[in-house]
Amino acid sequence: MFVPESPALLRIVGNRLLLSVPLLLIVSALTFLLEALIPGDIARTIVGPQATPEQYLQLKHSLGLDQPLFTRYQQWLENVVHGDFGTSLFNHEPVTTLLNGRLSVTLSLVVGSTLLAAIVGVLLGIAGALRADIAGTAVDALSMVGLAIPNFFLGLILIALFAVAIPLFPATGYVPFDESPLDWARSLVLPVVALATPGIAVVAKQTRDSMRAVLERPFIRTLRAAGLPRRSIIFKHALRSASAPVVTVLGLIFVASLGGTVVVESVFAMPGLGGLAVQATTQHDLPLIQGVAVYFTALVVVVNLLIDLAYGWLDPRVRVE
């Protein structure tokens, strides 16, 4: 009780960062070791069936595959700590250069869609909680459909409708923010909607359930009996108490949308990390795909940290525990 607020928050941040070290280690080990764990020979896959034994052995050596596994991992990890993810096997550029050049596209998509899912999902969920009959059923139906339509299909429908039939937005491509903020926003609308739709459905459902539970709690009755207007009771009081599970869901949605960008970037031909990951996969560019995996995990770590801070801000009891 005597712990002041800021040190408690610092402790939350510290704990989360400490926990994120093993997560990053596990992911890096996993992505690194997958190659060894999976039956199959990456060097053989890369050089192809027509290669000479010399070419094969040379590639094996240049990939370090002729060294013991642990030594390789140690070496790779050491390099990664120094910001060196190796060199792309395909176009021989440093992996970090390739990744950093595309980070902003993916961030715009993922952050944009998570925000959209949060705002629209919460509003729909509140409507569903307040009107059990019409809006409640609508939220149910919508969330089912939203989850069932794959985002690549939805993306193509959006292109067919709002880029081809009614040319409101560009069908494909990405305009960097510093080139033209307006075109940047226009190029993001359709992919962000495609990426956010399943998230909207999940957030709406969670918000509705959690709001319904909170609206039955005694403090809501107290505030209503004391005369507070409905608006304040719903948006200020009930929503805040109902939001912890919604925030949890938003974290999961963020992780899911990182996976989703891989597909959506392909649909909308956007030069992001996801497109790079697909390219790396088809070209067997192992260092590059390892780099993408570590970048994505680092993003997840950052988001989990933000979520922990959000818990602390939303519920004062978390701060003192």
């Binding site: 999976i38 459909v145 989850l147 107290t222 207007p229 996976g259 997840v300 009891r317």
Partner: protein
């Protein structure tokens, strides 16, 4: 509200045939199963059902829409879309099966182990689950596909592995619930080994949630499979796959948008069917565990019998603030209405304190909440009037009622801590209330808030203003709740057992506070209690409630001196501080009946020691037995004449 929870039917444990029976009663489940069954059969039998060779190109018929020849049209190379869908479905559905098998075969044992063993096993497995959940599945699978190009089996097995935590968590929590059950303990004592216990006694109880998760996971697996197929990572372009066909369609989106429709719609409908089946299974399983599957009806005030009482509304007659006439409240359930409060009538005068007394479950709180129109979900005021300054509170609009709450009528509940919003400081909430009622500046409201906290006798009002609900003691929280109620300067305060949850010394302080506040502000007070001490202490008049009805009503002195209903008499005799010194403390035999089992005649008759033939036949009216004194007892003359004789 224990009266309500009694009504919830507890279903039998989820046996498989029981589950199936519930499932086939659900039309959505039937539709989903039928759809999935038909699609699966048609795809398995693709060599027979497909009208064309899926690889056969017909460049004369490129991108045709649906025709008699090609029911679903042709693609960019003139291949028949329907045939390609049927062949492609074999791969997609096999992939779904692979993912589901992997996830259940590994996730279920891990979840059972975590839930049953507990301890470090649980911690390690839960940590493992959390870590995996933080990974984007697609990226991990891409790494796999980089090493094993176009190997869809490998991709789906990896996807299944990544999906383990979802099912692990569900099985773990289901196991935890079952583990402590008596028969599991009995099995342990009887010498079965752990494997036998888990296999025979725990698994049969957790498989319900498992099939729910498996069905939902199938939806995700198909979503995922079509995604990687769309990206062209799992098959060479000529092989038909559902996802790949959407990919092909995207290249012709300008020329023939129709091509998107068959493959995309089929994917979406199949995912939807898996999802709906999962939801239907969940409903069936939850019903088996005794949960409420039906949405509770909304709490709305509806008017039924307007003519129950034709008394004209009072027009500010001096002294009278609240006039309740024939107020009735019922539960609203699919099983039908069950009355909870039945024809309650009473008045409250300015500045007086009216006590409402009775055992738990007699309808006291429900009466108060009905007056405030704050009935919980599932309860409705179905009749009667509540007059406040000439208006019937039950029939005015919600908006006009909002204007009365807090400023005319206010409310204090019996659970002080949970009646404060845990996420805002006391000061924040109080300032908001004051600003709403008095339209003053934030600064002014802040000083009013401190003054109000001081008025409810809090020692350190500044400190309390900065505190959250969980930092307050019960007594402090109740003072704060009273301050909330006073923020709008109400003319009537309804306090529902405001001291029940508190220590004895604090109880006295809170009662003293209420009495002082009432004297200072002149507001009327309705005090709900089951404690005669509280009634004696601060009430002017008392209403005794039993089984949803008022059974006696009189001035406080009169009630203690001359109780005229056997229930009142019983209550008084069972109260330690009121019983005659030296006499035995008697309690009323039996319990308050639940609303569904009220006796047709006098509802107290099953517990009454004076019961006679005339008590049990017809409903007993409330009759005047003296000035301001009423009793609902037909034998009042015989019983009490004899008692005083």
């Amino acid at each position: 509200m224990s009266v309500l929870t009694d009504q919830v039917a507890i279903g039998p444990p989820s046996h498989s045939h029981e589950l199936v029976r519930r499932l086939i009663r659900n039309p959505v489940a039937i539709a989903a199963i039928t759809f999935l069954g038909i699609v699966t059969l048609l795809c398995i039998a693709a060599p027979i059902t497909a009208p064309f060779d899926p690889l056969h190109q017909d460049l004369e018929r490129v991108l045709s829409g649906p025709t008699d020849h090609n029911l679903l049209g042709t693609d960019t190379l003139g291949r028949d879309v329907l045939s390609r869908l049927l062949y492609g479905g074999r791969r997609s559905l096999l992939s779904v099966l692979e993912g589901v098998v992997v996830v259940t075969a590994l996730g279920v044992p891990m979840g059972l182990a975590a839930g049953y063993a507990g301890g470090w096993v649980d911690r390690v497995l839960s940590k493992f689950g959390e870590t995996i959940m933080a990974l984007p599945a697609l990226i991990i699978v891409l790494v796999v596909l980089a090493v094993l190009p176009q190997n869809e089996d490998a991709a789906m097995i990896s996807f299944g592995l990544i999906g383990i935590p979802a099912i692990l968590r569900v099985v773990r929590s289901a196991t935890l619930r079952v583990r402590e059950d008596l028969y599991v303990a009995a099995a342990r004592v009887s010498g079965l080994n752990h494997l036998q216990i888990v296999g025979r006694h725990i698994f049969p109880r957790v498989w319900g949630p498992v099939i729910v998760q498996a069905s939902l996971f199938a939806a995700y697996a198909l979503l995922f499979e079509t995604g990687i197929a769309y990206l062209g990572l799992t098959a060479d372009p000529s092989t038909p796959t559902w996802g790949g066909m959407v990919g092909e369609a995207s290249t012709a989106i300008q020329r023939q948008a129709w091509l998107l429709v068959p493959s995309g719609t089929l994917i979406a409908s199949t995912i939807l069917a898996f999802g709906l089946l999962g939801d239907a299974l969940r409903d069936a399983v939850v019903m088996g565990e005794g949960g409420l599957a039906h949405g509770a009806p909304r709490s709305v005030v509806t008017r039924r019998d307007r003519d129950a009482d034709t008394a004209e509304p009072l027009n500010g007659r001096s002294g009278l603030v609240l006039r309740v006439r024939n107020l009735s409240v019922s539960t609203m359930r699919s099983a039908g209405e069950i009355p909870i409060v039945d024809g309650v009538t009473f008045d409250v005068y300015a500045g007086e304190t009216l006590g409402i007394i009775g055992e738990s479950g007699c309808g006291k709180s429900v009466t108060a909440l009905a007056v405030l129109r704050l009935l919980p979900q599932g309860l409705r005021a179905i009749g009667g009037q509540v007059y406040w300054q000439g208006d019937d509170l039950l029939s005015i609009t919600e908006r006009s009622f909002d204007g009365l709450r807090g400023s005319s009528l206010a409310y204090v509940s019996q659970e002080p801590q949970s009646s404060l919003d845990p996420t805002y400081t006391v000061g924040n909430q109080l300032v908001e209330l004051i600003r709403h009622h008095q339209r003053v500046s934030r600064r002014k409201a802040r000083s009013s808030a401190i003054a109000l906290l001081r008025q409810v006798e809090l020692q350190n009002p500044n400190q309390v203003a900065h505190a959250y609900a969980h930092e307050l003691s019960g007594g402090m929280a109740q003072r704060v709740a009273i301050a909330f109620a006073l923020a709008g300067r109400p003319k009537l305060l309804i306090a529902d057992e405001p001291t029940t949850a508190l220590d004895v010394t604090v109880q006295a302080e809170i009662l003293g506070l209420l009495r002082r506040l009432q004297r200072e502000t002149g507001m009327a007070l309705i005090l709900i209690t089951h404690n005669w001490g509280v009634i004696a202490d601060i009430c002017d008049r008392a209403v005794v409630m039993y089984a949803g009805q008022i059974v006696e009503q009189s001035g406080i002195q009169e009630m203690f001196d001359r109780p005229l209903h056997p229930y009142t008499l019983g209550l008084l005799n069972s109260h330690p501080s009121l019983a005659e010194p030296g006499s035995r403390l008697s309690s009323i035999p039996g319990n308050v009946p639940s609303p569904a089992s009220w006796a047709p005649g006098c509802r107290f008759s099953p517990r009454c020691r004076f019961v006679a033939e005339e008590c049990v036949k017809t409903p007993i009216p409330l009759i005047d037995v003296g000035p301001g004194h009423a009793s609902r007892c037909v034998r009042v003359d015989q019983i009490f004449a004899k008692a005083s004789a």
